[in-house]
Structures are given as structure tokens and as C-alpha cells.
């Protein structure tokens, strides 16, 4: 298995991660007895409802969208914490679903790691930092000698701009930003090439956010990492991304290179998101809020999920799910764009 995965590495042009028709539905029905007594059928929450994208080696692909649109679910599907209801996640040409056992998964596990949102929950409070960072090394038996493990842990901590001596401390002795850097050190411990970052900066102060983001960019340059980055913060995404995908209620409505998405947004939802970014030039002037709230993914709107909030919605939008069509550098799923009903994307960013 390991050889098979390694043998694929040289073909550098193929995308590292390929997601095809990925869907995850959660059964949120009340218990059987309640359903029998009160009537009412099963209710299915379509957290992720068929999305496709690819991530090239060494690039950063960001997924943005409002809270509850399924971004984090996609992240968890990609690293295999959830099993997809439909569709495939292919990592370096290997379908993760084909790796049924933990043993078969191991070669991929080493190459793919995750950084979590909450730096206060993602480190075991009872473990010393050195043990936390060493966990991937010990789990995969990458280094046998325990002194060498500690040496490597020291290197990793220095790599994320902490001191090797910090390994002796416990997580509660660190600030949020430092903890997030410990998380990054742990993620790097097994020399992965792909990192899934689930809102790694959203729990941090703005000044610390920049530190962590710059660190992540530096590491990407040094180690040739590929990032799959989840965020709701457009400014953060603009800073770090090569490609941006915009998600709305379980579907990918638009994806393209970052420049394209920010300077030439096509989908009306992308435009609304960009309009909502606060910036200094706009200070004091009234801004247009994104009207309405995200509808419930248990009872999503018919047709295009965005139509109840969309200023350009037509009858076709209410009836028909828009297909993903090519746009400059990427894809967009919108009837209005297809029919040319959209006004030009002007000064959005």
C-alpha cells in the first residue's frame, strides 16, 4: 500500500486532492417512538449536497461561506472524520473510501493533517506540549529512539517560532496564538504534504491572526505544503488563498483563482459576501447588509438554494438547480450569470 502511494508521487501535475460529488447527509430525525406517536417522517440534514473541486499541489484552496453552510463538514469529510453519504474524496489518486481499515489508512494519515478551530479544545489539557507534538511521531513510529523524538519535537516547536523548552509545559500555560502554533507543530510532526485548516484563526485576536497566517505562509513556502483552508473571514482568505470556493447551504456556488473571485465576482452570493467586508474607506457610510438568514438545511429552498435572498432571482431560479458552468479560471453555478442577466461586477473589492 505504502509503495503504491509513494509511486504516484512523481506525477506532479495531477491535483493532490480531488473531490467528486461529495455529499454528507445527517439523519436528525426524532427517535422512532416520537415519530410513531407524533407522526412526521425522517428529517435529513443535507450538510454537504454534492460538491466538486480540486486542489493543486503547493497551492491553497479556501472555502468560504456563512456559518452553518457546511464548510467544516467538508473539512471533516476530506480528512476522513466523516464517511461521505455520496461521492468521493481522492487524495493523490487514492479514493479514501477504498481504505476501509485503520491500517490501510495509515500511509495517507501521515501525509494529511488537520488544524482545528478552537486552540483551547484541540490540545489535550492533561498532556505536556512535547507529548502532544510527539503524538503523530509515536503513533506512526517515525522515530524509534525517545531522545530523538524529543529532539525532533524541539525542532518542530522552533519551526513554529516557539522555544524547544516549551515542550515541558502544559497547554494552559500558553495564549491562544501560541496554542494554535502548537497545533501546527503537531500537524507538521509526521511531515505531511497536505494540511486541512478548519478556521485556524477565527478564535484569535486580529494581531495574532496575522502572525499565525504569516507563519502558515512561510511554512508553505519552506515545506511545499498544500492547504485546504476553511474560513468565514474574507480578509483572511484574501491574504492566504490561491483559489477560493464559495459555499452556500451545502453547495459550491462559485470557485476560481482568488484574484478572480475578489475582483471579478460572478455569483450574486459572492458579491454580497464581498460587499459585507468592513473596510476603512467605508467608515461611517451605511452599508448594504446581506438580507435574510441562511435557510435551514433540513428544508432547503427549491431550485437554487440562494433564490430567497437573491436580488436577481427569477422563476427558473426557484424551480431548477443551476449547474456548474465554466467561468474565468473556475466555475459558477447561477442561472442569472448563465443568462447574462447580471450587471457587471464593478467595484466589489
Amino acid at each position: 500500500m505504502a509503495e503504491a502511494v509513494q509511486a504516484r508521487q512523481p506525477e506532479g501535475d495531477a491535483p493532490l486532492l480531488r473531490v467528486r460529488g461529495l455529499a454528507k447527509h445527517f439523519d436528525v430525525s426524532p427517535p422512532f417512538v416520537t415519530r410513531a406517536l407524533q407522526g412526521g417522517g425522517r428529517s435529513i440534514l443535507r450538510a454537504v449536497d454534492g460538491i466538486d473541486f480540486e486542489i493543486e499541489r503547493g497551492k491553497t484552496f479556501s472555502l468560504v461561506g456563512e456559518s452553518g453552510c457546511g464548510k467544516s463538514t467538508v473539512a471533516r469529510l476530506v480528512v476522513g472524520l466523516y464517511k461521505p453519504t455520496e461521492g468521493h474524496v481522492e487524495f493523490d489518486g487514492v479514493d479514501l473510501a477504498s481504505l476501509a481499515t485503520r491500517k490501510a489508512m495509515e500511509p495517507v494519515r501521515k501525509r494529511m493533517q488537520m488544524i482545528f478551530q478552537d486552540p483551547f479544545a484541540s490540545l489535550n489539557p492533561r498532556w505536556r506540549v512535547a507529548d502532544i507534538v510527539a503524538e503523530p511521531i509515536r503513533t506512526h513510529r517515525l522515530i524509534d529512539d525517545s531522545r530523538d523524538v524529543l529532539h525532533r519535537v524541539g525542532e518542530l516547536l522552533e519551526q513554529v517560532r516557539l522555544s524547544a523548552r516549551d515542550g515541558e509545559k502544559f497547554p494552559h500555560e500558553f495564549s491562544g496564538g501560541q496554542r494554535q502554533r502548537i497545533s501546527i507543530a503537531r500537524a507538521l510532526a509526521s511531515n505531511p504534504e497536505f494540511l486541512v485548516c478548519d478556521e485556524p484563526t477565527s478564535a484569535l485576536d486580529v494581531s495574532v491572526q496575522a502572525q499565525v497566517l504569516n507563519l502558515m505562509k512561510d511554512l508553505q513556502r519552506e515545506l511545499g505544503l498544500t492547504y485546504f483552508f476553511i474560513s468565514h473571514d474574507m480578509a483572511v482568505v484574501y491574504h492566504i488563498s490561491d483559489y477560493v470556493g464559495v459555499m452556500y447551504l451545502g453547495r459550491l456556488v462559485e470557485w476560481a483563482p482568488a484574484e478572480e473571485v475578489f475582483h471579478n465576482p460572478q455569483h450574486p452570493y459572492t458579491r454580497l459576501l464581498l460587499d459585507a467586508i468592513p473596510d476603512l474607506e467605508m467608515t461611517g457610510r451605511p452599508r448594504q447588509a446581506v438580507a435574510g438568514e441562511v435557510p435551514s438545511p433540513i428544508h432547503p429552498p427549491s431550485g437554487c438554494h440562494f433564490h430567497p435572498r437573491c436580488p436577481f432571482a427569477s422563476d427558473r431560479c426557484r424551480a431548477e438547480v443551476p449547474p456548474s458552468l465554466p467561468r474565468t479560471g473556475g466555475q459558477v453555478a447561477c442561472h442569472a450569470v448563465e443568462e447574462g442577466r447580471m450587471p457587471d461586477a464593478g467595484n466589489s473589492a
Binding site: L81, S122, N124, R165, E168
Partner: protein, 335 residues
């Protein structure tokens, strides 16, 4: 620049030698952290906890060292003399005019055993049964709760339904059932020897549910935390995640329940011994002593039952108060 970096790296290398800690160093360190910690602080601030702890400590000491501390080895039948039976405590006179003697400080029972010494040995048996059953219940309950909560699904349902059914049987009924079965199946002498284990098993059987439910609840909370998910992404074996990640984070409540259960176990043991299911008369526990004594209470020979009862009350009260304090001390919401 590069030279500076190299010296930097060397400095860090020497540091690294220091951070490889010895086992003793770690132990001393964690001891230091304990005395620095919130729990010790809260202990120092609670007079009730300190008194309860002192009383418990004295009783434990007396129980453990009973053969050396007790004035009279009541376990040795050859030292008993029926002529010494039913002496009142020192300084008291019984309804028949017998005066107490200093040799038997708290009087003697119907077989001439010194009550004071018998209580020490009884305390030993009571505490041993209590500890053994609580440890058994804690180990079984914690394991089942951990597995139930972490793995979930059908296994969880099965374990929790067994727990529910278990709750409908009181400890006394279980003890009577097991005791009856053992007595019926095995020869009398063997059954007599096994009585203490039957007792431990019965009490543990009635208590593991508390552990299982609490640990399951905490596990359900912990397993959704991101550090557990991180371990999953790393590819750690589920059993290792349970033992190394989840278990250390759910032990707080276990400690509290164990302390409170210890008091309950001692009481249950006393109840069972009082009913005659418990330990044999030759090695009486506190409960057995109370049972022996209550036969004589109507003839005015109160000391045989009052003193063991008092000892039981003090022990259970002290352990309970300690458990109460521990629950508050470990509960961050009450700080």
C-alpha cells in the same frame, strides 16, 4: 546572522538535555503542582474537609494497624474467655450490678471479646470490603462507561439497558441471591470462606452503574472535543484514544463518586452483615458487631451495639463529608 543562529541552536541543544526528565523528577513535579493547585487550596480553606480528613486518616490507621494497636487480639479465639463476657464499659455498672473494668474500656460482648478491640478489627473488615467493592465497581463501571460513550451505537444501548436493569435490583437482593446460590452450590465450609467475596461482588454490582453512567456522560462530551478528533486524524488506535486521551479527562467525577460510594459501600456492608448475609461471626465487621449487640439491648447491655454503631456513623460521616468537599473542589462552576 548564521553564526548567531548556530550558537542559538547549541544553547537550545543543552536545554534539551535538561528537558528529558527522570521519573522521580516528574513525580516531584506533579506533587509540587498538587500542593500549588486549586484542590489543595480549597482543602486548606475548608475546616470541615480538614477535620473529616483527619478523622478518616485516624480510622484508616487504626484499621490497618489493628493487630498491633488493639489491646486484645479478638481474631484469636484461644484468647477469649467466656468469664469475661458482657462486661460493661469502664466506669459503668450494668443492670445486674457488674462493674466495668479498665481492661475492657468499652466493655465486652457475649463471647468475652473486648468491644474496643473488636471495633478496630471490625473497622478493618468494613473498610476492606468497602474499598474492594468500590475499586471493583469503579474499574468495571469506568471501563463500561468509557466504551459505551466512546463507541456508542448499539453497544451503548446494550450496556446502558443492562445498567438500567441493574438499578432495579437493590444491593441487598443481589447479595441474598448470590449468597443463596453460593451456599446452595458449594459445601458449607467453602461457602463460609467465600462470604466476604460474595459481599464485595454484591456491593460492587449495585454500584458500578453510577460510575458507568457518569463516565459515559463525560465521555460523550470529551469525544466531540477537537483534541480527540485530532488524535483520530493522526490515526491513533481507538483504544489508545480512550485510555490516553479521554480517560484522564473523565477521572475527576470518578474520584468523587468513588469517595461517596465508599461511604455507601461501608453502610451496605453493615446492613448485609446485620441481616446475617455478610461476614462470618468469627471475624466480625462493624455491621456484625451491631447485630450481635442488638440482641442484648433490651436487657440494658447497650454498649455492645452503641459503640460499633457510633464508629460506623463517624466513619461514614467523615468519608461523606470528604466526598462532598471533593465534589465541590473539583467542580469549576462552584469556585
Amino acid at each position: 546572522m548564521s553564526a548567531a543562529r548556530r550558537t542559538d541552536a547549541m544553547a537550545i541543544n543543552t536545554d534539551r538535555r535538561e528537558i528529558t526528565p527522570s521519573l522521580a523528577g516528574r513525580a516531584a513535579d506533579s506533587l509540587h503542582r498538587f500542593f500549588d493547585g486549586d484542590v489543595y487550596y480549597s482543602f486548606r480553606r475548608s475546616p470541615v474537609a480538614m477535620v473529616a480528613f483527619a478523622v478518616t486518616l485516624v480510622l484508616f490507621f487504626v484499621a490497618i494497624f489493628a493487630p498491633w494497636v488493639a489491646p486484645h487480639n479478638t481474631d484469636d479465639v484461644t484468647t477469649l474467655n467466656l468469664m469475661n463476657a458482657r462486661f460493661p464499659p469502664w466506669g459503668f455498672t450494668d443492670p445486674f450490678g457488674t462493674e466495668g473494668v479498665a481492661r475492657f474500656l468499652l466493655g465486652t460482648d457475649d463471647q468475652g471479646r473486648d468491644i474496643f478491640s473488636a471495633m478496630m478489627f471490625g473497622l478493618q473488615i468494613s473498610l476492606m470490603v468497602g474499598f474492594a467493592s468500590v475499586i471493583l465497581a469503579a474499574v468495571v463501571g469506568t471501563s463500561l462507561g468509557l466504551i459505551s460513550g466512546y463507541i456508542g451505537g448499539r453497544l451503548d444501548s446494550v450496556i446502558m439497558r443492562i445498567a438500567d436493569i441493574q438499578l432495579t435490583f437493590p444491593a441487598i437482593l443481589i447479595a441474598l441471591l448470590i449468597d443463596g446460590t453460593v451456599a446452595g452450590l458449594l459445601p458449607r465450609a467453602v461457602a463460609q470462606d467465600l462470604k466476604i467475596y460474595v459481599l464485595i461482588l454484591a456491593i460492587a454490582a449495585s454500584q458500578w452503574v453510577n460510575f458507568a453512567r457518569t463516565v459515559r456522560g463525560s465521555t460523550l462530551v470529551e469525544k466531540n472535543k477537537e483534541y480527540v478528533q485530532a488524535a483520530k486524524v493522526i490515526g491513533v488506535h481507538p483504544a489508545l484514544i480512550m485510555i490516553r486521551h479521554v480517560l484522564p479527562n473523565v477521572t475527576g467525577p470518578v474520584l468523587v463518586i468513588a469517595t461517596l460510594s465508599l461511604a455507601l459501600a461501608i453502610l451496605t456492608e453493615a446492613t448485609l452483615s446485620f441481616l446475617g448475609v455478610g461476614v462470618p461471626v468469627t471475624h466480625p465487621s462493624l455491621g456484625t458487631l451491631i447485630r450481635i449487640g442488638q440482641q442484648y439491648i433490651f436487657s440494658g447491655e447497650w454498649w455492645m451495639t452503641i459503640f460499633p454503631s457510633l464508629a460506623l456513623v463517624v466513619l461514614v460521616l467523615a468519608v461523606n463529608l470528604l466526598g462532598d468537599w471533593l465534589r465541590d473542589a473539583l467542580n469549576p462552576k462552584l469556585r
